[in-house]
């Protein structure tokens, strides 16, 4: 029995290491895009240390690069960070920590650590998966962000190297797992509507606001369309659980 537990923990740690390396590597692209958008190297490093959430970080430098105000940048990054808040109730019962360890656990609660932690069968493996993934991604993400910022700073005009196109591609890669596949019809509709709203609003409102207007579309659809329209929510027994495991599969890289 103890041998099975040890093996499950070792498997979780191996999974954590491979996810950490894969995720840490794309910190290079974040660092380069951040300095291309106009942030300094210390600001770029501070963002990875303090915010530590890839999607929100890309969003903040995207709004800054487009000429948006600080308020729009904070609102966009915060809205993209809401999903991390929803991971808390999934991982907190697995970890059972209090005090400063709870603050640390919250900071390390991201897509990857939640996915690896909640995918384990035993509690010991879940804890190992969460902490090793969280710590591994944190160390590598910050190291590679700094490397990317130094490289990006040395390159010069970002357009010559296509870094502005790389920013668009990075957002496409982040949204792809959420709109691909059969269960994502509603998500694809919302994505299309968001593109139309953002482009239609661009000539008329300050930079950064079109993205927030697109979020408003999603809030209206999410609150108004009956859940039965979504294939993943048709089973009355534990729809949240179904969606959580579906999201975990979608996030797995």
């Amino acid at each position: 029995m103890a041998g099975d537990d040890d093996e499950a923990v070792r498997a979780a740690v191996r999974q954590a290491v491979s996810v950490s390396v894969a995720t840490g590597l794309y910190g290079v692209s974040f660092g380069a895009l951040s300095v291309a958008a106009g942030l300094s190297i210390p600001q770029t490093a501070a963002l990875s240390l303090l915010m530590f959430s890839g999607g929100s970080q890309f969003a903040l430098v995207g709004v800054v690069g487009a000429g948006g105000a600080a308020g729009a940048a904070i609102a966009t990054a915060g809205l993209l960070g809401v999903r991390n808040g929803l991971y808390g109730p999934q991982v907190a019962p697995l970890l059972g920590v209090h005090g400063w360890r709870r603050l640390l656990a919250a900071h390390l609660t991201i897509d990857e650590s939640t996915a690896v932690g909640t995918a384990q069968r035993s509690n010991a493996a879940a804890r190992a998966g969460f902490w090793w993934t969280g710590a591994g991604v944190f160390v590598l993400w910050n190291a590679f962000t700094l490397l990317g910022a130094l490289l990006g700073d040395a390159l010069g005009d970002p357009r010559t190297y296509g870094l502005d196109a790389a920013a668009a591609a990075a957002f496409l890669a982040l949204v792809w797992p959420r709109v691909a596949g059969r269960g994502a019809r509603l998500a694809r509709t919302v994505a299309a509507a968001a593109v139309v709203v953002a482009l239609a609003a661009t000539p008329f409102v300050p930079a950064g606001v079109p993205v927030l207007l697109a979020a408003l579309v999603a809030v209206l659809v999410g609150m108004l369309v009956p859940p039965s329209d979504e294939p993943t929510a048709t089973t009355p027994a534990g729809p949240t659980r179904d969606r959580a495991s579906g999201a975990t599969e979608g996030r797995a890289r």
Binding site: A22, Y26, S29, S40, Q43, A46, L50, S53, A59, G62, G67, A70, A73, I74, T76, A77, G78, L80, G81, V82, R83, N84, G85, G88, A92, P93, R102, A106, H107, T109, Y161, G162, A165, A166, A167, A168, A169, F171, A173, L174, V175, R178, L186, A187, V190, A191, A194, A198, L199, T202, A207, P210, A214, V217, A218, V219, G222, T240, R243, R253
Partner: protein, 106 residues
Amino acid sequence: MSDAALWVAVVGAGLVCLGIKLVGHLVPEHWLAQPRVARTAALVTVALLSALVAVQAATSGRDLVVDARLPALAVAAVALALRAPFVLVVVLAAGTAALLRALGMP
């Protein structure tokens, strides 16, 4: 944005994101377990990322523009459909735009 305003954005957004994570660990579980809340949060993420793709690929200031970024985005989409890893997708898009600009496309 000025350097000071950038620091406000960086530190402000960082604290907001950390605060949201902490709230998730502190609120009673059933508060966030409602299907509509979880689904709306997922859709907001999709909408924000999709809008950012559009703004990054097809706008410049308040103008809608078509330049080397759009074909680069198409290359990224093909790479994603073929299940290429994140870093490769980003590098292919940058390479496409850099090549097209070297050939004279805006």
